[in-house]
């Protein structure tokens, strides 16, 4: 039976119920790919917690869960680093020079999405640059 109808059915159902948009559930070469945009960081965390419950420590390697928090352009986003400041860089990449810092839990303005991993932001102090999107919600 397909992974989405058996092992990960609860996870797929939870993603649908939680309002994940652009949800795509596909199976290819015995790996299930779940892609979509979560309405909040909490939903994303809940889905990962459920995945961890179904497959402890993600050991099976039979699922790629790619559910990201959709950030609205022009909207405020919160810096959700574990505790440290978030580096603001000149370009989208860790090889780019650091041009500023955003504090843990600081609210910044999302100006645009550079790619799936990087967003262009501006702080209230006027610092502008690219940050790793995973640390925003």
């Amino acid at each position: 039976m397909a992974l989405q109808d058996s092992k990960y059915k609860e996870l797929v159902d939870a993603a649908r119920t939680a309002g994940v948009t652009d949800l795509q559930v596909r199976e290819q070469d015995n790996i299930l790919y779940i892609d979509g945009n979560a309405p909040s960081g909490t939903v994303k965390d809940q889905l990962w917690a459920l995945y961890n419950k179904i497959d402890p420590d993600f050991n099976s390697g039979d699922l790629i869960l790619n559910v990201n928090v959709a950030l609205g352009t022009g909207a405020k986003a919160k810096v959700v680093t574990e505790s440290s400041n978030l580096n603001i860089r000149k370009g989208p990449g860790t090889d780019q020079p650091i041009v500023g810092k955003a504090a843990h839990h600081e609210l910044v303005t999302v100006l645009s999405k550079a790619n799936d991993q990087w967003s262009l932001i501006r702080t209230d102090k006027g610092e502008e640059g690219y940050v790793y999107t995973q640390y925003l919600e």
Partner: protein, 115 residues
């Protein structure tokens, strides 16, 4: 002679009528067939194939994704990401989420020690 001509015309007309009859039958058949090719419609509604990032893009993405995990190393071969080193259990979901968002084909973490 006139009678032969008339018979010939009658024959032509008759064949014409029969031919129209056949066409209409064919059309009916075509309508029936039009409802049949559901697989085509289904194909159009199928989601696009899974997007797997090229190895070069994965390598660049992994450099950024693992930057905040100093004990973790990542390599890529044909879309498969292999994670090794060590990570704490509480940070594992974030690491997996960061790697999963790069569009790898698969993630092999058998060599990754969970502390």
């Amino acid at each position: 002679m006139k009678q032969i001509k008339l018979t010939a015309w009658a024959l032509v007309l008759l064949l014409g009528v029969q031919s129209t009859g056949c066409k209409s039958k064919d059309k009916k058949g075509a309508d029936t067939t039009q409802t049949a090719p559901l697989p085509d419609t289904t194909m159009n509604n199928m989601p696009p194939p899974v997007q797997i990032a090229p190895d070069t893009a994965l390598q660049t993405g992994l450099r950024d994704a693992t930057k905040d995990y100093p004990g973790v190393q990542a390599t890529v071969t044909n879309g498969e990401v292999t994670l090794s080193g060590a990570v704490t259990r509480d940070r594992l979901p974030n690491l997996m989420a960061a790697v999963s968002s790069l569009h790898p084909k698969s993630i092999n973490k058998q060599q990754l020690i969970i502390k």
